[in-house]
């Protein structure tokens, strides 16, 4: 039974890595961009007053950069997960190979969804780790590892998977939704930043932010890694229950949206039609 699930997932991971290898030049170009972005953003984030008065100090400060990484790496993971899922699925729809994938006797959630999720997971973990490796030599990243951080990290992954499945379900139905995809990514990036103590946001912003997939996960990562708070303590960002609710809610919504998108595409006969 286990091999019945592991073989197709391994198959998708192998294919995902094969495609990543063929896109290696693009990834190698993108990877330093993430590093440069965070290094440049460090002196600017939360320094609006200094920017206005023209007194920005272009120094890489350890604490700020470390906190930013705790926000940025989950976002890179989220971004790559959603983007890879979307573009790979769109490419398969455009070429028509998606229909051959649907001829598998294995359940579609396993080969089309779960397999690709794991494939994207491994690739994005590599890119997120690469970003860290690029930033670390330039600034002393000071993060005290706490095993409890695995819980919000896992919940962030589940939320990212959920959103990528929502996007995937919508892609099966509407195909060209790049703009929606980009809009969602931008919103998640902006609102999740409210979870770290580097910027001041209006109350409504923080409130709305709780409904976005990364915000409470990032907030809880920050608290676990930079303060002494336990993972089970009720966090200021909404608490453990809220974090679980949002993350698992996105996952459940993703599974439902993917199933719905698949049914609609099969009914319309547009599974492999671009």
């Amino acid at each position: 039974m286990t091999s019945r699930f592991l073989i197709p997932i391994g198959n998708e991971v192998r294919k995902g890595l094969r495609f990543a290898w063929s896109e290696r030049l693009q990834i190698l170009i993108e990877l330093p961009m993430f590093g440069v972005f965070i290094l440049l953003l460090g002196p600017l984030l939360g320094a609006g007053g200094n920017i206005v008065s023209g007194q920005v100090e272009w120094t890489l400060e350890s604490e700020t950069t470390s906190i930013m990484l705790v926000w940025f790496l989950p976002f890179v993971f989220f971004y790559m997960q959603v983007v890879k899922m979307f573009w790979r699925l769109l490419a398969e729809i455009q070429s028509g190979t998606i229909e051959q994938v649907y001829l598998s006797p294995l359940p579609s959630w396993l080969v089309v969804a779960a397999g690709r999720v794991v494939a994207a997971l491994i690739e994005t973990a590599f890119v997120a780790a690469g970003t860290f490796v690029i930033v670390a030599p330039f600034v002393d990243v000071h993060i005290v590892w706490n095993t409890a951080a695995l819980i919000p990290a896992l919940l962030i992954m589940l939320a990212a998977i959920g959103v990528s499945l929502i996007i995937a379900g919508a892609t099966l139905v509407w195909k060209r939704i790049q703009l929606v995809n980009d809009f969602v990514l931008t919103m998640v990036m902006l609102f999740s930043a409210s979870a770290i103590p580097l910027i001041v946001v209006p109350g409504w912003w923080a409130t709305v932010g709780h409904f976005f997939p990364l915000t409470d996960g990032v907030g809880s990562l920050y608290r676990t890694l930079f303060t002494d708070q336990s993972v089970t303590d009720p966090w200021g960002q909404g608490g453990f229950v809220w974090l679980m609710t949002v993350s698992l809610g996105y996952l459940a919504a993703g599974i439902a949206a993917f199933g719905l998108g698949e049914r609609i595409a099969k009914r319309r006969g547009t599974l492999g039609r671009y």
Partner: protein, 319 residues
Amino acid sequence: MTDAIEYSGLSKTYGRGKDALTAVRPTTLSVPWGQVIGLLGPNGAGKTTIIKMTAGLITATAGGVRIGGHDIRRDRAEAVRLIGAVLEGSRNVYWPMSAWENLMYFGRLKGLRGAEIRPRAQWLLAELGLWERRHQLVGGFSRGMQQKVAVAAALITDPQILLLDEPTLGLDVEAARTFKDWIARLARDEGKTIVLTTHQLQVAQELSDRIAVIREGEIIADLPTAELLARHAENRFEVRLDAPLDGLRASIPDGATVSEDGIETRIVLPDADTRALYGFLDRLSDTGAPLTAVAKAQPSLEEIFIRLVHDELDEERTS
């Protein structure tokens, strides 16, 4: 024993209300194991929709499909295990992967282990003349070679049923012939059940045990190929001249049909009236026209198809 494929009241309507488009009208039809059935019809007749409903890629509006007795919706896993498909207009295989990687991928996708896939992949690639290039990316192959990889991928699990939707589309003459020979071998030597759609009616005639003609979503003829040809058989003579007709028009008997391509002229005398033929040949002899062939001829499947689709709908409805 159940048939390989059974359609019971299968129909498909896209959209709703005034925009609704009926692609397939209620169809009941069975394909026995080992039979090659050609689905013929003009563009938009509903052939691809039937193929995709057979594979479970499109949900039927009403009715159902059973593959080897398994309902394609309720028992999808068992049903698709019996199917291999080369779909029209699709790449079918991954271009950024090699032929070998594609076969390994699709084999695993269908639940096989590597050790089970390798010998079959090796055999298929050798049979199709791709063994030497197995590690090259499919994207760099010619259209014919890509189509061969698609067939190999469809056959990697040795399925009993093959769905081939326009498999020779875009292939050059030689590649199409190689492909056709291979399909014929699969049917003859391995007893595969094959559902074939093609616009190349000569290919359909050579490969199919049975022909179903579809027009506007409705099957208007469904007969064994030989019987379909026999039903439309005519005793007629065909005379070929290696020259344009020009000054010979007056010599042509009443009721004859003439087709010219600028080089050759083909004259078909409507019934096997040997007296009329001799008279016509005498007149040709007088003019010195370069005669290249005189033969007793039957209408081709192409002619029958055109008649069925355009002229004889009411007479040829499937009983």
